[in-house]
């Protein structure tokens, strides 16, 4: 069983920097780390912090323009100076990588059993000398990861995200490695599927006494599967320690920011309160005179159904949904992918036509005609998930924010409208941002520009589809704080669509849980999240960090 040692490892990429000629980008800047045999380590950090680079360097899987200095010892051998032959022999037999299979880590034109067999043919010819023996092994491996054996002859596109991930795990175990490196193994998966995959992985690691390095930007995932967590920022390790401690009592400010992105549900400290802003009606706020109660019903959805024809079948995305939204309230619409929540949001915005039922604004049903719809759009606006893709890369901030007012020919000085909107989105001084283009801004700033664009029309209601899912964990808090502030200062209600229950706990008044096109539960946040009635809601809550679980039962490194 090898011990993995990183000794002052520095990894840099030579890039062809357009403006300045050759450039050198340092991905890992002096990391020293030890992984004892049989232990599990989580590498946490935001995108670009170097965690993937560090992990992939164990098997020298970095692209050709990467330079590695320092030592990486796998047992007694230094990986950086190994010969190619020895390296190829080490790969997969001593250490194996579980890539993010939901993307394109599997060959699309080969059956998955062939791909697993390939590993066996390379390294384990002695143990599995003929095809029959190898196929038997493939079936064994699939059973280990809880997959029906018949799936072996499938092509990757025929499998779901969770199934593909389990194939990746099965493939990694094919040659009995002693170290598993899991690179963002659950990132693109739903929380429930995520929990299943993690169960399989941790079960196998535990049963076989394997070492595990898991990389993720999600601290809660790491806390649930690893004994120790190592937090990286800009290529350096900024904090290291037992996972429970890092998760609940982080010391380094960056770790604190990361941990804040995963609020504990039920914890009053994170209810309507974020780093930087605490709402007047938060449990932790000082009692104040007036707290605005939500007003009348402004937006309503009655018996709404939306069906699509897809691949020759009728697909029911939204199934007879009834909802009411009041002025000035934040409603969180929670569901996993495939639940229909985005379709519902787009139908409310008039971007999708309902098959039956209606959307009513201030009592009047939405028209299908472009002109009437345009008037409606002044009042209900949209914030999308990926701020980078939501802005035309060639338009300046000014043009992006002014687009709405120009389309509606709003009266008044355009410049003032744009400046006010930018200020409301907390981009001050607004003039500084007028001529910036999206690539000059950070992710959080871009999302603020999108919000400003919506605010420029002075809407009464905002529909935000996963507004923080594409942002770094440290920026998440800022944007959520902004939404909360807009609610309290401008009376702006919002429908926030998310898969993240923690977000609902952070800022929402009410929460609606959706599954496969239907509403399974709705009510105030306190009711639904602390005392869930429906089984599905309970299931969702069981896999996210909550105040009860933090008492030590669910964390490995307690």
């Amino acid at each position: 069983m090898p011990r993995l040692v990183f000794d002052d490892v520095r990894i840099s990429y030579t890039t062809r920097d357009d403006a300045a000629g050759r450039g050198l980008v340092t991905a890992v800047d002096g990391v020293s780390l030890v992984l004892e045999p049989g232990s599990t380590l989580g590498l946490a950090g935001e995108s670009g912090c170097g965690k993937s680079t560090l992990a992939l360097s164990v098997l020298r899987l970095l692209p050709a323009n990467a330079t590695v200095t320092g030592q990486i010892l796998l047992g007694d051998d230094d990986v950086t100076t190994m010969s190619f032959g020895r390296l190829r022999a080490v790969r997969w037999t001593e250490a194996a990588v579980v890539f993010q299979g939901a993307m394109h880590s599997l060959n699309p034109v080969q059956k998955v059993s062939d791909q697993i067999e390939e590993a066996l043919k390379l390294h384990s010819l002695a143990s599995y000398p003929d095809r029959a023996a190898r196929l038997k092994r493939v079936r064994e491996l699939l059973t280990l990861v809880d997959l029906p054996v018949v799936k072996a002859s499938s092509y990757p596109h025929e499998l779901s995200g969770g199934q593909k991930q389990r194939i990746m795990i099965a493939m990694a175990l094919a040659c009995d490695p002693e170290l598993i490196i899991a690179d963002e193994p659950t990132t693109a998966l739903d929380v429930i599927v995520q929990a299943q995959v993690l169960d399989v992985l941790t079960g196998l690691v535990r049963d076989r006494g394997l070492s595990l390095i898991m990389i993720s930007h999600d601290l809660s995932v790491l806390a649930a599967t690893c004994e120790r967590i190592c937090v990286m920022q800009a290529g350096r390790i900024v904090e290291e320690g037992p996972s429970l401690r890092v998760m609940t009592a982080p010391e380094h400010p960056h770790t604190r920011a990361l941990a804040a992105a995963f609020p504990l549900i039920g914890d009053p400290a994170s209810r309507r309160s974020l780093p930087g802003y605490t709402a007047p009606d938060a449990p932790t706020a000082a009692p104040s005179e007036t707290v605005t109660e939500p007003g009348d019903v402004v937006l309503e959805v009655r018996d709404l159904s939306v069906e699509f024809a897809s691949r020759g079948q009728r697909v029911k995305a939204v199934d007879h949904v009834n909802l009411a939204f009041r002025q000035g309230e934040i409603v969180a619409l929670v569901g996993q992918s495939g639940s229909g929540k985005t379709t519902l949001a787009r139908t409310i915005l008039g971007l999708e036509e309902p098959t039956s039922g209606a959307v009513l604004y201030e009592g009047a049903p939405l028209s299908h005609r472009r002109k009437a719809l345009k008037e409606y759009r002044r009042h209900v606006q949209f914030v999308l998930q990926d701020p980078t893709a939501s802005l035309n890369p060639k338009h300046t901030v000014y043009e992006a924010v002014a687009e709405g007012p120009r389309l509606h020919k709003l009266p008044g000085n355009e410049r003032d409208i744009v400046a006010t909107a930018l200020e409301q989105a907390e981009l001050t001084p607004p003039e500084k941002y007028f001529n910036a283009i999206p690539q000059e801004l950070s992710g959080g700033q871009r999302q603020r520009v999108v919000i400003a664009g919506a605010l420029a029309l002075s809407p009464t209601f905002l529909v935000a589809d996963e507004p923080v899912a594409s942002l770094d964990a440290s920026v998440r808090g800022e944007i959520l704080a902004l939404l909360l502030r807009l609610k309290n200062e401008l009376g702006l209600g919002a429908l926030v669509i998310t898969h993240d229950l923690g977000l609902a706990w952070n800022i929402a008044d009410r929460v609606v849980v959706m599954k496969q096109g239907e509403i399974v539960e709705q009510g105030s946040v306190e009711e639904v999240l602390l005392n869930p009635q429906h089984e599905y809601t309970r299931k969702l809550l069981s896999v996210v960090p909550s105040a009860q679980a933090a008492s030590g039962q669910d964390f490995v490194g307690a």
């Binding site: 997969w92 394109h104 060959n107 034109v109 390939e118 992918s337 496969q516």
Partner: protein
């Protein structure tokens, strides 16, 4: 049975319909692609007919351009080709004739067009078929090797040569080869399918045809292989950034095998599509090459038709050429489905 689906997914599906392979069962797939092919064939017939009738210029006048004819002779011509009847009647005659295999009568040869085409099509298929197969083999092999050795001398020379050949007009290359090997060095005959006046049979005939085939085929291959090389190279270069190749390397596979077993098969798919899409260009090349080398195929026939101008013959060759390409594209769709597992319905 209804299922559920998120809107963004379906929207993306709909917008990427063309680029993403859609799974369907065989009968559906054949119906869809076959239907498309039939519609295209229909449009060819329409275009073939109306191009000569509707565009400015009286067909009878076009046919007799540059010739001294009297007004009565022009009228006579009109009657002979049925040009004095209403357009719709003419169209039905035309379509009816197509189904019977009657494409009209050639003005210059005074024989049925269908018969002329029938006797010339073999030579064209021999020429284009040989050229296509050779270009594909050459282009694909060089292209994948150039992509793998990207930046090397091999890659640079191959890419450079391909770009040059891509810029060469096919007919001019034919002229040059004719000049050099036919006229100057006299290694190969200067035209025709067989040596005129000889009555060879069996192996001797085959050998004679091959000798005559060399220059035209070399001409066509030189221009066409370049396109296939560039496409294969670009396709493989793009494939080489794929994630599953990292997985293959992580398993301990040698670079060579990573390329051959994983990258190339995936890169072949878009290449195959593009190859079949450019078949029309191959046909165009046939016209010019056959003209330069007096190769008695459909292309040469087309050249003779346009010189006259012999409208029925031109119409016939247009319809036949286009139909061949449409049918080949349909065949390509079928081949592609066999190759790409993502198109098979589970």
């Amino acid at each position: 049975m209804t299922a559920t689906l998120d809107a963004t997914e379906s929207l993306q599906q709909i917008t990427q319909e063309e680029s993403r392979p859609r799974a369907a069962s065989w009968p559906r797939y054949i119906a869809r692609k076959g239907g498309g092919a039939l519609i295209s064939l229909g449009m060819v017939v329409l275009l073939g007919f109306f191009a000569f009738r509707i565009l400015p210029g009286d067909p009878a006048i076009s046919m007799t351009r540059g010739r001294r004819v009297s007004a009565e002779q022009v009228d006579q011509l009109r009657k002979e080709f049925g040009l004095d009847q209403p357009l719709i009647i003419q169209f039905f005659h035309f379509v009816g004739g197509l189904f019977r295999g009657d494409l009209g009568t050639s003005y210059t040869f005074h024989r049925p067009v269908a018969e002329l085409i029938g006797s010339h099509i073999g030579a064209t298929l021999l020429l284009t078929g040989t050229a296509a197969v050779l270009s594909i083999i050459l282009g694909l092999w060089l292209g994948q090797r150039a992509a793998w050795k990207r930046g090397s001398l091999f890659d640079k020379t191959q890419t450079g040569l391909a770009l040059i050949f891509w810029s060469v007009p096919t007919f001019w290359l034919g002229l040059i080869l004719l000049l050099l090997f036919g006229g100057f060095l006299q290694w190969f005959p200067t035209g025709g399918l067989v040596t005129p006046g000889s009555n060879e049979t069996g192996i001797a005939l085959v050998w004679d045809v091959i000798r005559h085939l060399v220059l035209p085929v070399v001409t066509m291959v030189a221009v066409v292989y370049a396109q296939y090389l560039m496409v294969m190279r670009a396709s493989l270069l793009e494939e080489m950034t794929a994630d599953y190749l990292t997985t293959a390397r992580a398993k301990g596979l040698k670079e060579d095998l990573v390329r051959r077993r994983h990258a190339v098969p995936n890169a072949l798919l878009p290449t195959v599509t593009l190859i079949f899409l450019t078949l029309g260009g191959l046909v165009g090349g046939a016209v010019t090459v056959e003209t330069v080398f007096s190769w008695p195929g459909l292309g040469y026939l087309t050249f003779q038709a346009l010189s006259a101008p012999d409208l029925p013959l031109l119409q016939g060759t247009f319809v036949v050429f286009s139909s061949i390409v449409i049918i080949m594209n349909f065949a390509a769709d079928l081949v592609y489905r066999v190759l790409d597992p993502r198109l098979k319905a589970s």
